[in-house]
């Protein structure tokens, strides 16, 4: 659907600007677009948040249910991340089951959250082998204007930080949910930073126009200690080993910035 000739023209125009250290929306190469985070946006969810990065708008709702654990981890809770690229978000999104992009996004955010040890899955166990907390993280893309990954990851983390679980009361084999709630305990706050490559330049937070002509894209999830807990290079395109090393450093640097913004919303310093 995208006019290929116009893509080539755009790419040349963007490369031209980059050679002068500028981007099409006036940002510097290392700048994020304006970010706004709102929490508690979906009242029926256990936790929710929405994030806007520029015009990209993603909402995440967390629903917690009591369910059965997986047979190979009988004393652990379950985390499930799903992403929906709803048709209203972009002329290029069609109704239907998640396509490869939605599946990739969900799986990468899942890995970023899971591998950072943000969750203590054992804490989410109620009756070992029988009843555990199932945490459903549903990523809802509402407006696609580039860099869904960072927006989705940030919204997912904010939604989890906003999540309150009812306190369960175990009576024999049954679990009753009381009216009391406790916040979901998180052990880490992993932040995703996506870097695009255009020509020889590495740019933070590619917007849609840039994303359409990128020569490569890579996302790093950075833990609060500055370690890396997930990486996903996506889109056909190549990176030299040196570019990867520069990108990792850049991601670690920007993750601190994003985490500060997030913590401010929650009144954490």
């Amino acid at each position: 659907m995208v006019n290929r000739a116009s893509l080539v023209l755009n790419r040349n125009r963007l490369l031209n600007l980059l050679s002068q250290g500028r981007r099409v929306d006036g940002r510097g190469l290392k700048d994020f677009r304006p970010i706004s985070i709102e929490i508690g946006v979906a009242g029926k969810a256990n936790g929710s948040a929405s994030v806007k990065i520029g015009d990209t708008y993603v909402m995440v709702g967390v629903k917690a249910e009591i369910g059965s654990p997986f047979s190979d981890t009988p004393d652990e809770g379950v985390l499930m991340v799903n992403a929906e690229f709803v048709p209203l978000a972009s002329p290029s999104f069609e109704p239907g089951p998640p396509d490869e992009n939605a599946i990739e996004l969900a799986r990468v955010v899942d890995r970023g959250l899971r591998k950072s040890e943000a969750f203590n899955f054992k804490d989410l166990c109620i009756i070992p082998g029988k009843k555990v907390w199932m945490i459903w993280v549903d990523i809802y893309v509402l407006d696609y204007n580039g860099n869904l990954m960072d927006a989705a990851a940030l919204a997912a983390l904010a939604a989890l930080m906003n999540t309150k679980l009812p306190v369960p009361k175990v009576e024999g084999e049954e679990v009753m949910l009381t009216d009391e709630t406790v916040p979901l305990k998180l052990g880490d706050y992993p932040i995703a930073v996506t870097i695009g490559k255009l020509g020889d330049s590495l740019i933070i937070d590619p917007l849609l126009e840039e994303e359409e002509v990128l020569d490569g894209r890579i996302t790093f999830f950075v833990t609060k200690d500055g370690n890396i807990c997930a990486i996903q290079k996506s889109l056909p395109g190549v990176f030299s080993p040196d570019e990867i090393l520069v990108a990792v450093d850049l991601a670690c640097e920007k993750a601190v910035e994003l985490r500060e913004k997030l913590f401010k919303v929650f009144g954490i310093s």
């Binding site: 799986r107 190549v238 030299s240």
Partner: protein, 249 residues
């Protein structure tokens, strides 16, 4: 979990299958194993076994999917139901869908797609036995199959996964290390162009550990490249035989 954990690396620095930290599993690649495909390859890396077929460039159906200025690359990574311990449903799983995309994105930069617009190049990967590192083996074998098919490429793509097991960086994870280890990091690399086309990681690595693992991964990919070249040379050996006869006779 911590107390019951299997020791994956002994004090002597040997892994569960007796390998050293930097040691790859034995790799066997055979070229041209399927008669119908335009290009094909079989790979066995440790116990992982994969079959790859390439069809193309060929006319694209449905026509409206065709790209006016380049070939469309399609890739399907699929695991046979009997390839894993517990029978896997033949329906594509979310993992297979993600891997199909990642593998395609790892191979596409190597293919000179501008040379045959409005066609498709279809890459089919079947995992017959899965023992870790299947997406990397898939990229490795698919490159060979593409070259076998005579599809113009910038370079081959060689892939290998590195990881962290019992705190040590290791190369080419087997299934047990993937399951019970701390980090899994698959990498694909074009050995002549010296660029990375696939990079994923899950687990926790410090900056220093990442640097070490990444360097080792590139090194491992270069070793895999040698296996690819040898397999292709062997396939062409009949040419070499005739060449020799000519120069002797």
């Amino acid at each position: 979990m911590e107390n019951d954990k299997i020791s994956l690396v002994t004090e002597d620095g040997l892994r569960v299958d007796g390998r050293k930290l930097d040691e790859l599993r034995p790799v066997k690649i055979e070229v041209g194993v399927l008669a119908n495909a335009d290009g094909s390859a079989f790979i066995q890396q440790g116990k992982s076994k994969l079959l790859v077929a390439v069809y193309g460039p060929r006319e694209l159906h449905p026509r409206h999917l065709a790209l006016p200025d380049k070939a469309l690359i399609r890739c399907r990574y699929h695991m046979a139901p009997f390839s894993v311990e517990e029978r896997k449903s033949p329906a594509p799983s979310r993992r297979e869908i993600e891997l199909s995309k990642i593998i395609r994105e790892a191979l596409e930069p190597a293919i000179l797609v501008d040379r045959f617009p409005r066609t498709s190049i279809d890459i089919f990967i079947e995992v017959l036995e899965a023992d870790g590192g299947t997406r990397c083996a898939a990229v490795t074998a698919a490159s060979v199959a593409l070259a076998h098919a005579g599809i113009p490429m910038r370079d081959l793509v060689a892939a290998c996964a590195v990881g962290k097991v019992d705190g040590k960086i290791v190369v080419d994870l087997c299934d047990a290390e993937d399951k019970y280890g701390e980090v899994d990091m698959p990498v694909a690399y074009m050995p002549n162009k010296k660029v990375v086309t696939l990079l994923q990681m899950d687990g926790i690595l410090t900056r220093e550990e990442f640097d070490e693992a990444f360097k080792k991964a590139i090194s491992a990919c270069e070793k895999i490249y040698e296996f690819q070249l040898n397999a292709l040379k062997k396939h062409l050996s009949i040419i070499e035989e005739v060449k020799e006869e000519e120069s002797n006779g």
